[in-house]
Symmetry: none
Subunit: 172 residues, 2 copies
Amino acid sequence: MSPAGSSRWCPTPEQLMILEEMYIGGMRTPNASQIQQITAHLSLYGKIEGKNVFYWFQNHKARDRQKLRRKLTKHHHHHHQNLQSPPPLPSQHSSIGFLPQGGEVEDASTQMVTSKPMVMRSYGRDWMVMLDVVPTPITPCCNTAPPKTLELFPITATGLKDMHFPSSMSSN
Amino acid sequence: MSPAGSSRWCPTPEQLMILEEMYIGGMRTPNASQIQQITAHLSLYGKIEGKNVFYWFQNHKARDRQKLRRKLTKHHHHHHQNLQSPPPLPSQHSSIGFLPQGGEVEDASTQMVTSKPMVMRSYGRDWMVMLDVVPTPITPCCNTAPPKTLELFPITATGLKDMHFPSSMSSN
DNA sequence: GCAAATTAATGATTTATTCAAG
DNA sequence: CTTGAATAAATCATTAATTTGC
C-alpha cells in the first residue's frame, strides 16, 4: 500500500545479475566484510541492505541444493550398475567388528591408492576380517531414527551410552 | 573407459542419498559390522565395496571438519578474508571482481574504507551494526596459522568483526 | 484486453544440527 | 556435559506470474 516503502527488497536486474555472477564465480557464503562490499557495490544500482545480500546467498544456495536433491531423489529408476531391488533390510551379522579409526584420515581414497597407511591397504584388499565381540557401538546420538528408508541395523540402544569403545575405535 | 571395470567406485544417487541420510542421522565412523551391513544394503543399488563405505565416511567427516575448522580458525585468530570458493577457484573473475573498481562503481568503497567491523544481530532487526573501528587488525602475536592470503578483497584485512547470527540457543 | 483469483518464486524468519572449547 | 558460533534446513510471508471469467 504505502508506495514509499515496500516490505521487502526487490532486486533490480543489475543487482540480480551481479549476484548471480558472483554465485557462479564460487561465492557461497560471504562473510561480513564481503557482504559489506557487495552491498556497497549493489547499492549503486538500487536500494539494498546487507541483510538482503546475506539472505540472497543463503536462499540461493539452499534452493540450489534443494533442486539437486530433488532430482536425485526422483532418480529412482535410472542408472544401476548391478541390480536394483527393494531394500529388504539385511539382518545384522554382528560379531565382526574392527576398523582402523585411529585419528582421521583426511583423504583416504587418494592416499591409499598412492601408498601409505598400513591399515588402509589392508582395507582395500580384504575387508573386515577381524573378529570381535563388540556389541555394536552405533550412533552415539540421535535416538530418533531417520524417517526415511533407513533401517540398516538394529540399533541396540542397550548400553549404547555406557559403551566404551576399544582404544582403537575411539577416534575422538 | 572400459565399461567392464571402472577404476573407482561411482556412487549412484540412491547410494549417495542413503549415505548422506545416515551421516545426517548421526553415523560418523561405522565399525566393521556396520560397514558390512551398509555395504550389503547399498549393493542393491549398485556395485560397491566395504572400503567405499569406509572411505566415504572418513572423507565426509574430514571434509566437514576441515570446512568448519577453517572458519573457526579465522574466527579465533582474527578474521582473514576467507573466500569460500569451491576447488575450481575461478582464476579470472570476469567482470565481477568485486571491489567496485569497475568504473562506475567506485564510490562504494567509501564504506569499506572506514573499516568498521560490523555485527549483525537479530535477524531482521538491526542488521550490520557497525562497531568501533579497530585500527590494529592484524594479530600482533602468535599467529600460528599462516594466513592463506587468499584475499580476494584487498581491503579489509582490517579486523572486521564477524557477524553473530542469533540462533535460538535458550535451553538446549 | 483487463482485473480478480490462483499459483509459482523468492525474500525474510525461525528452528535444528554441527563441531569445538570450556 | 554445557555452551558458543555458525550455518543449513524448514518454514513463513509477500511479491511476481499466470490463469480465468467477463
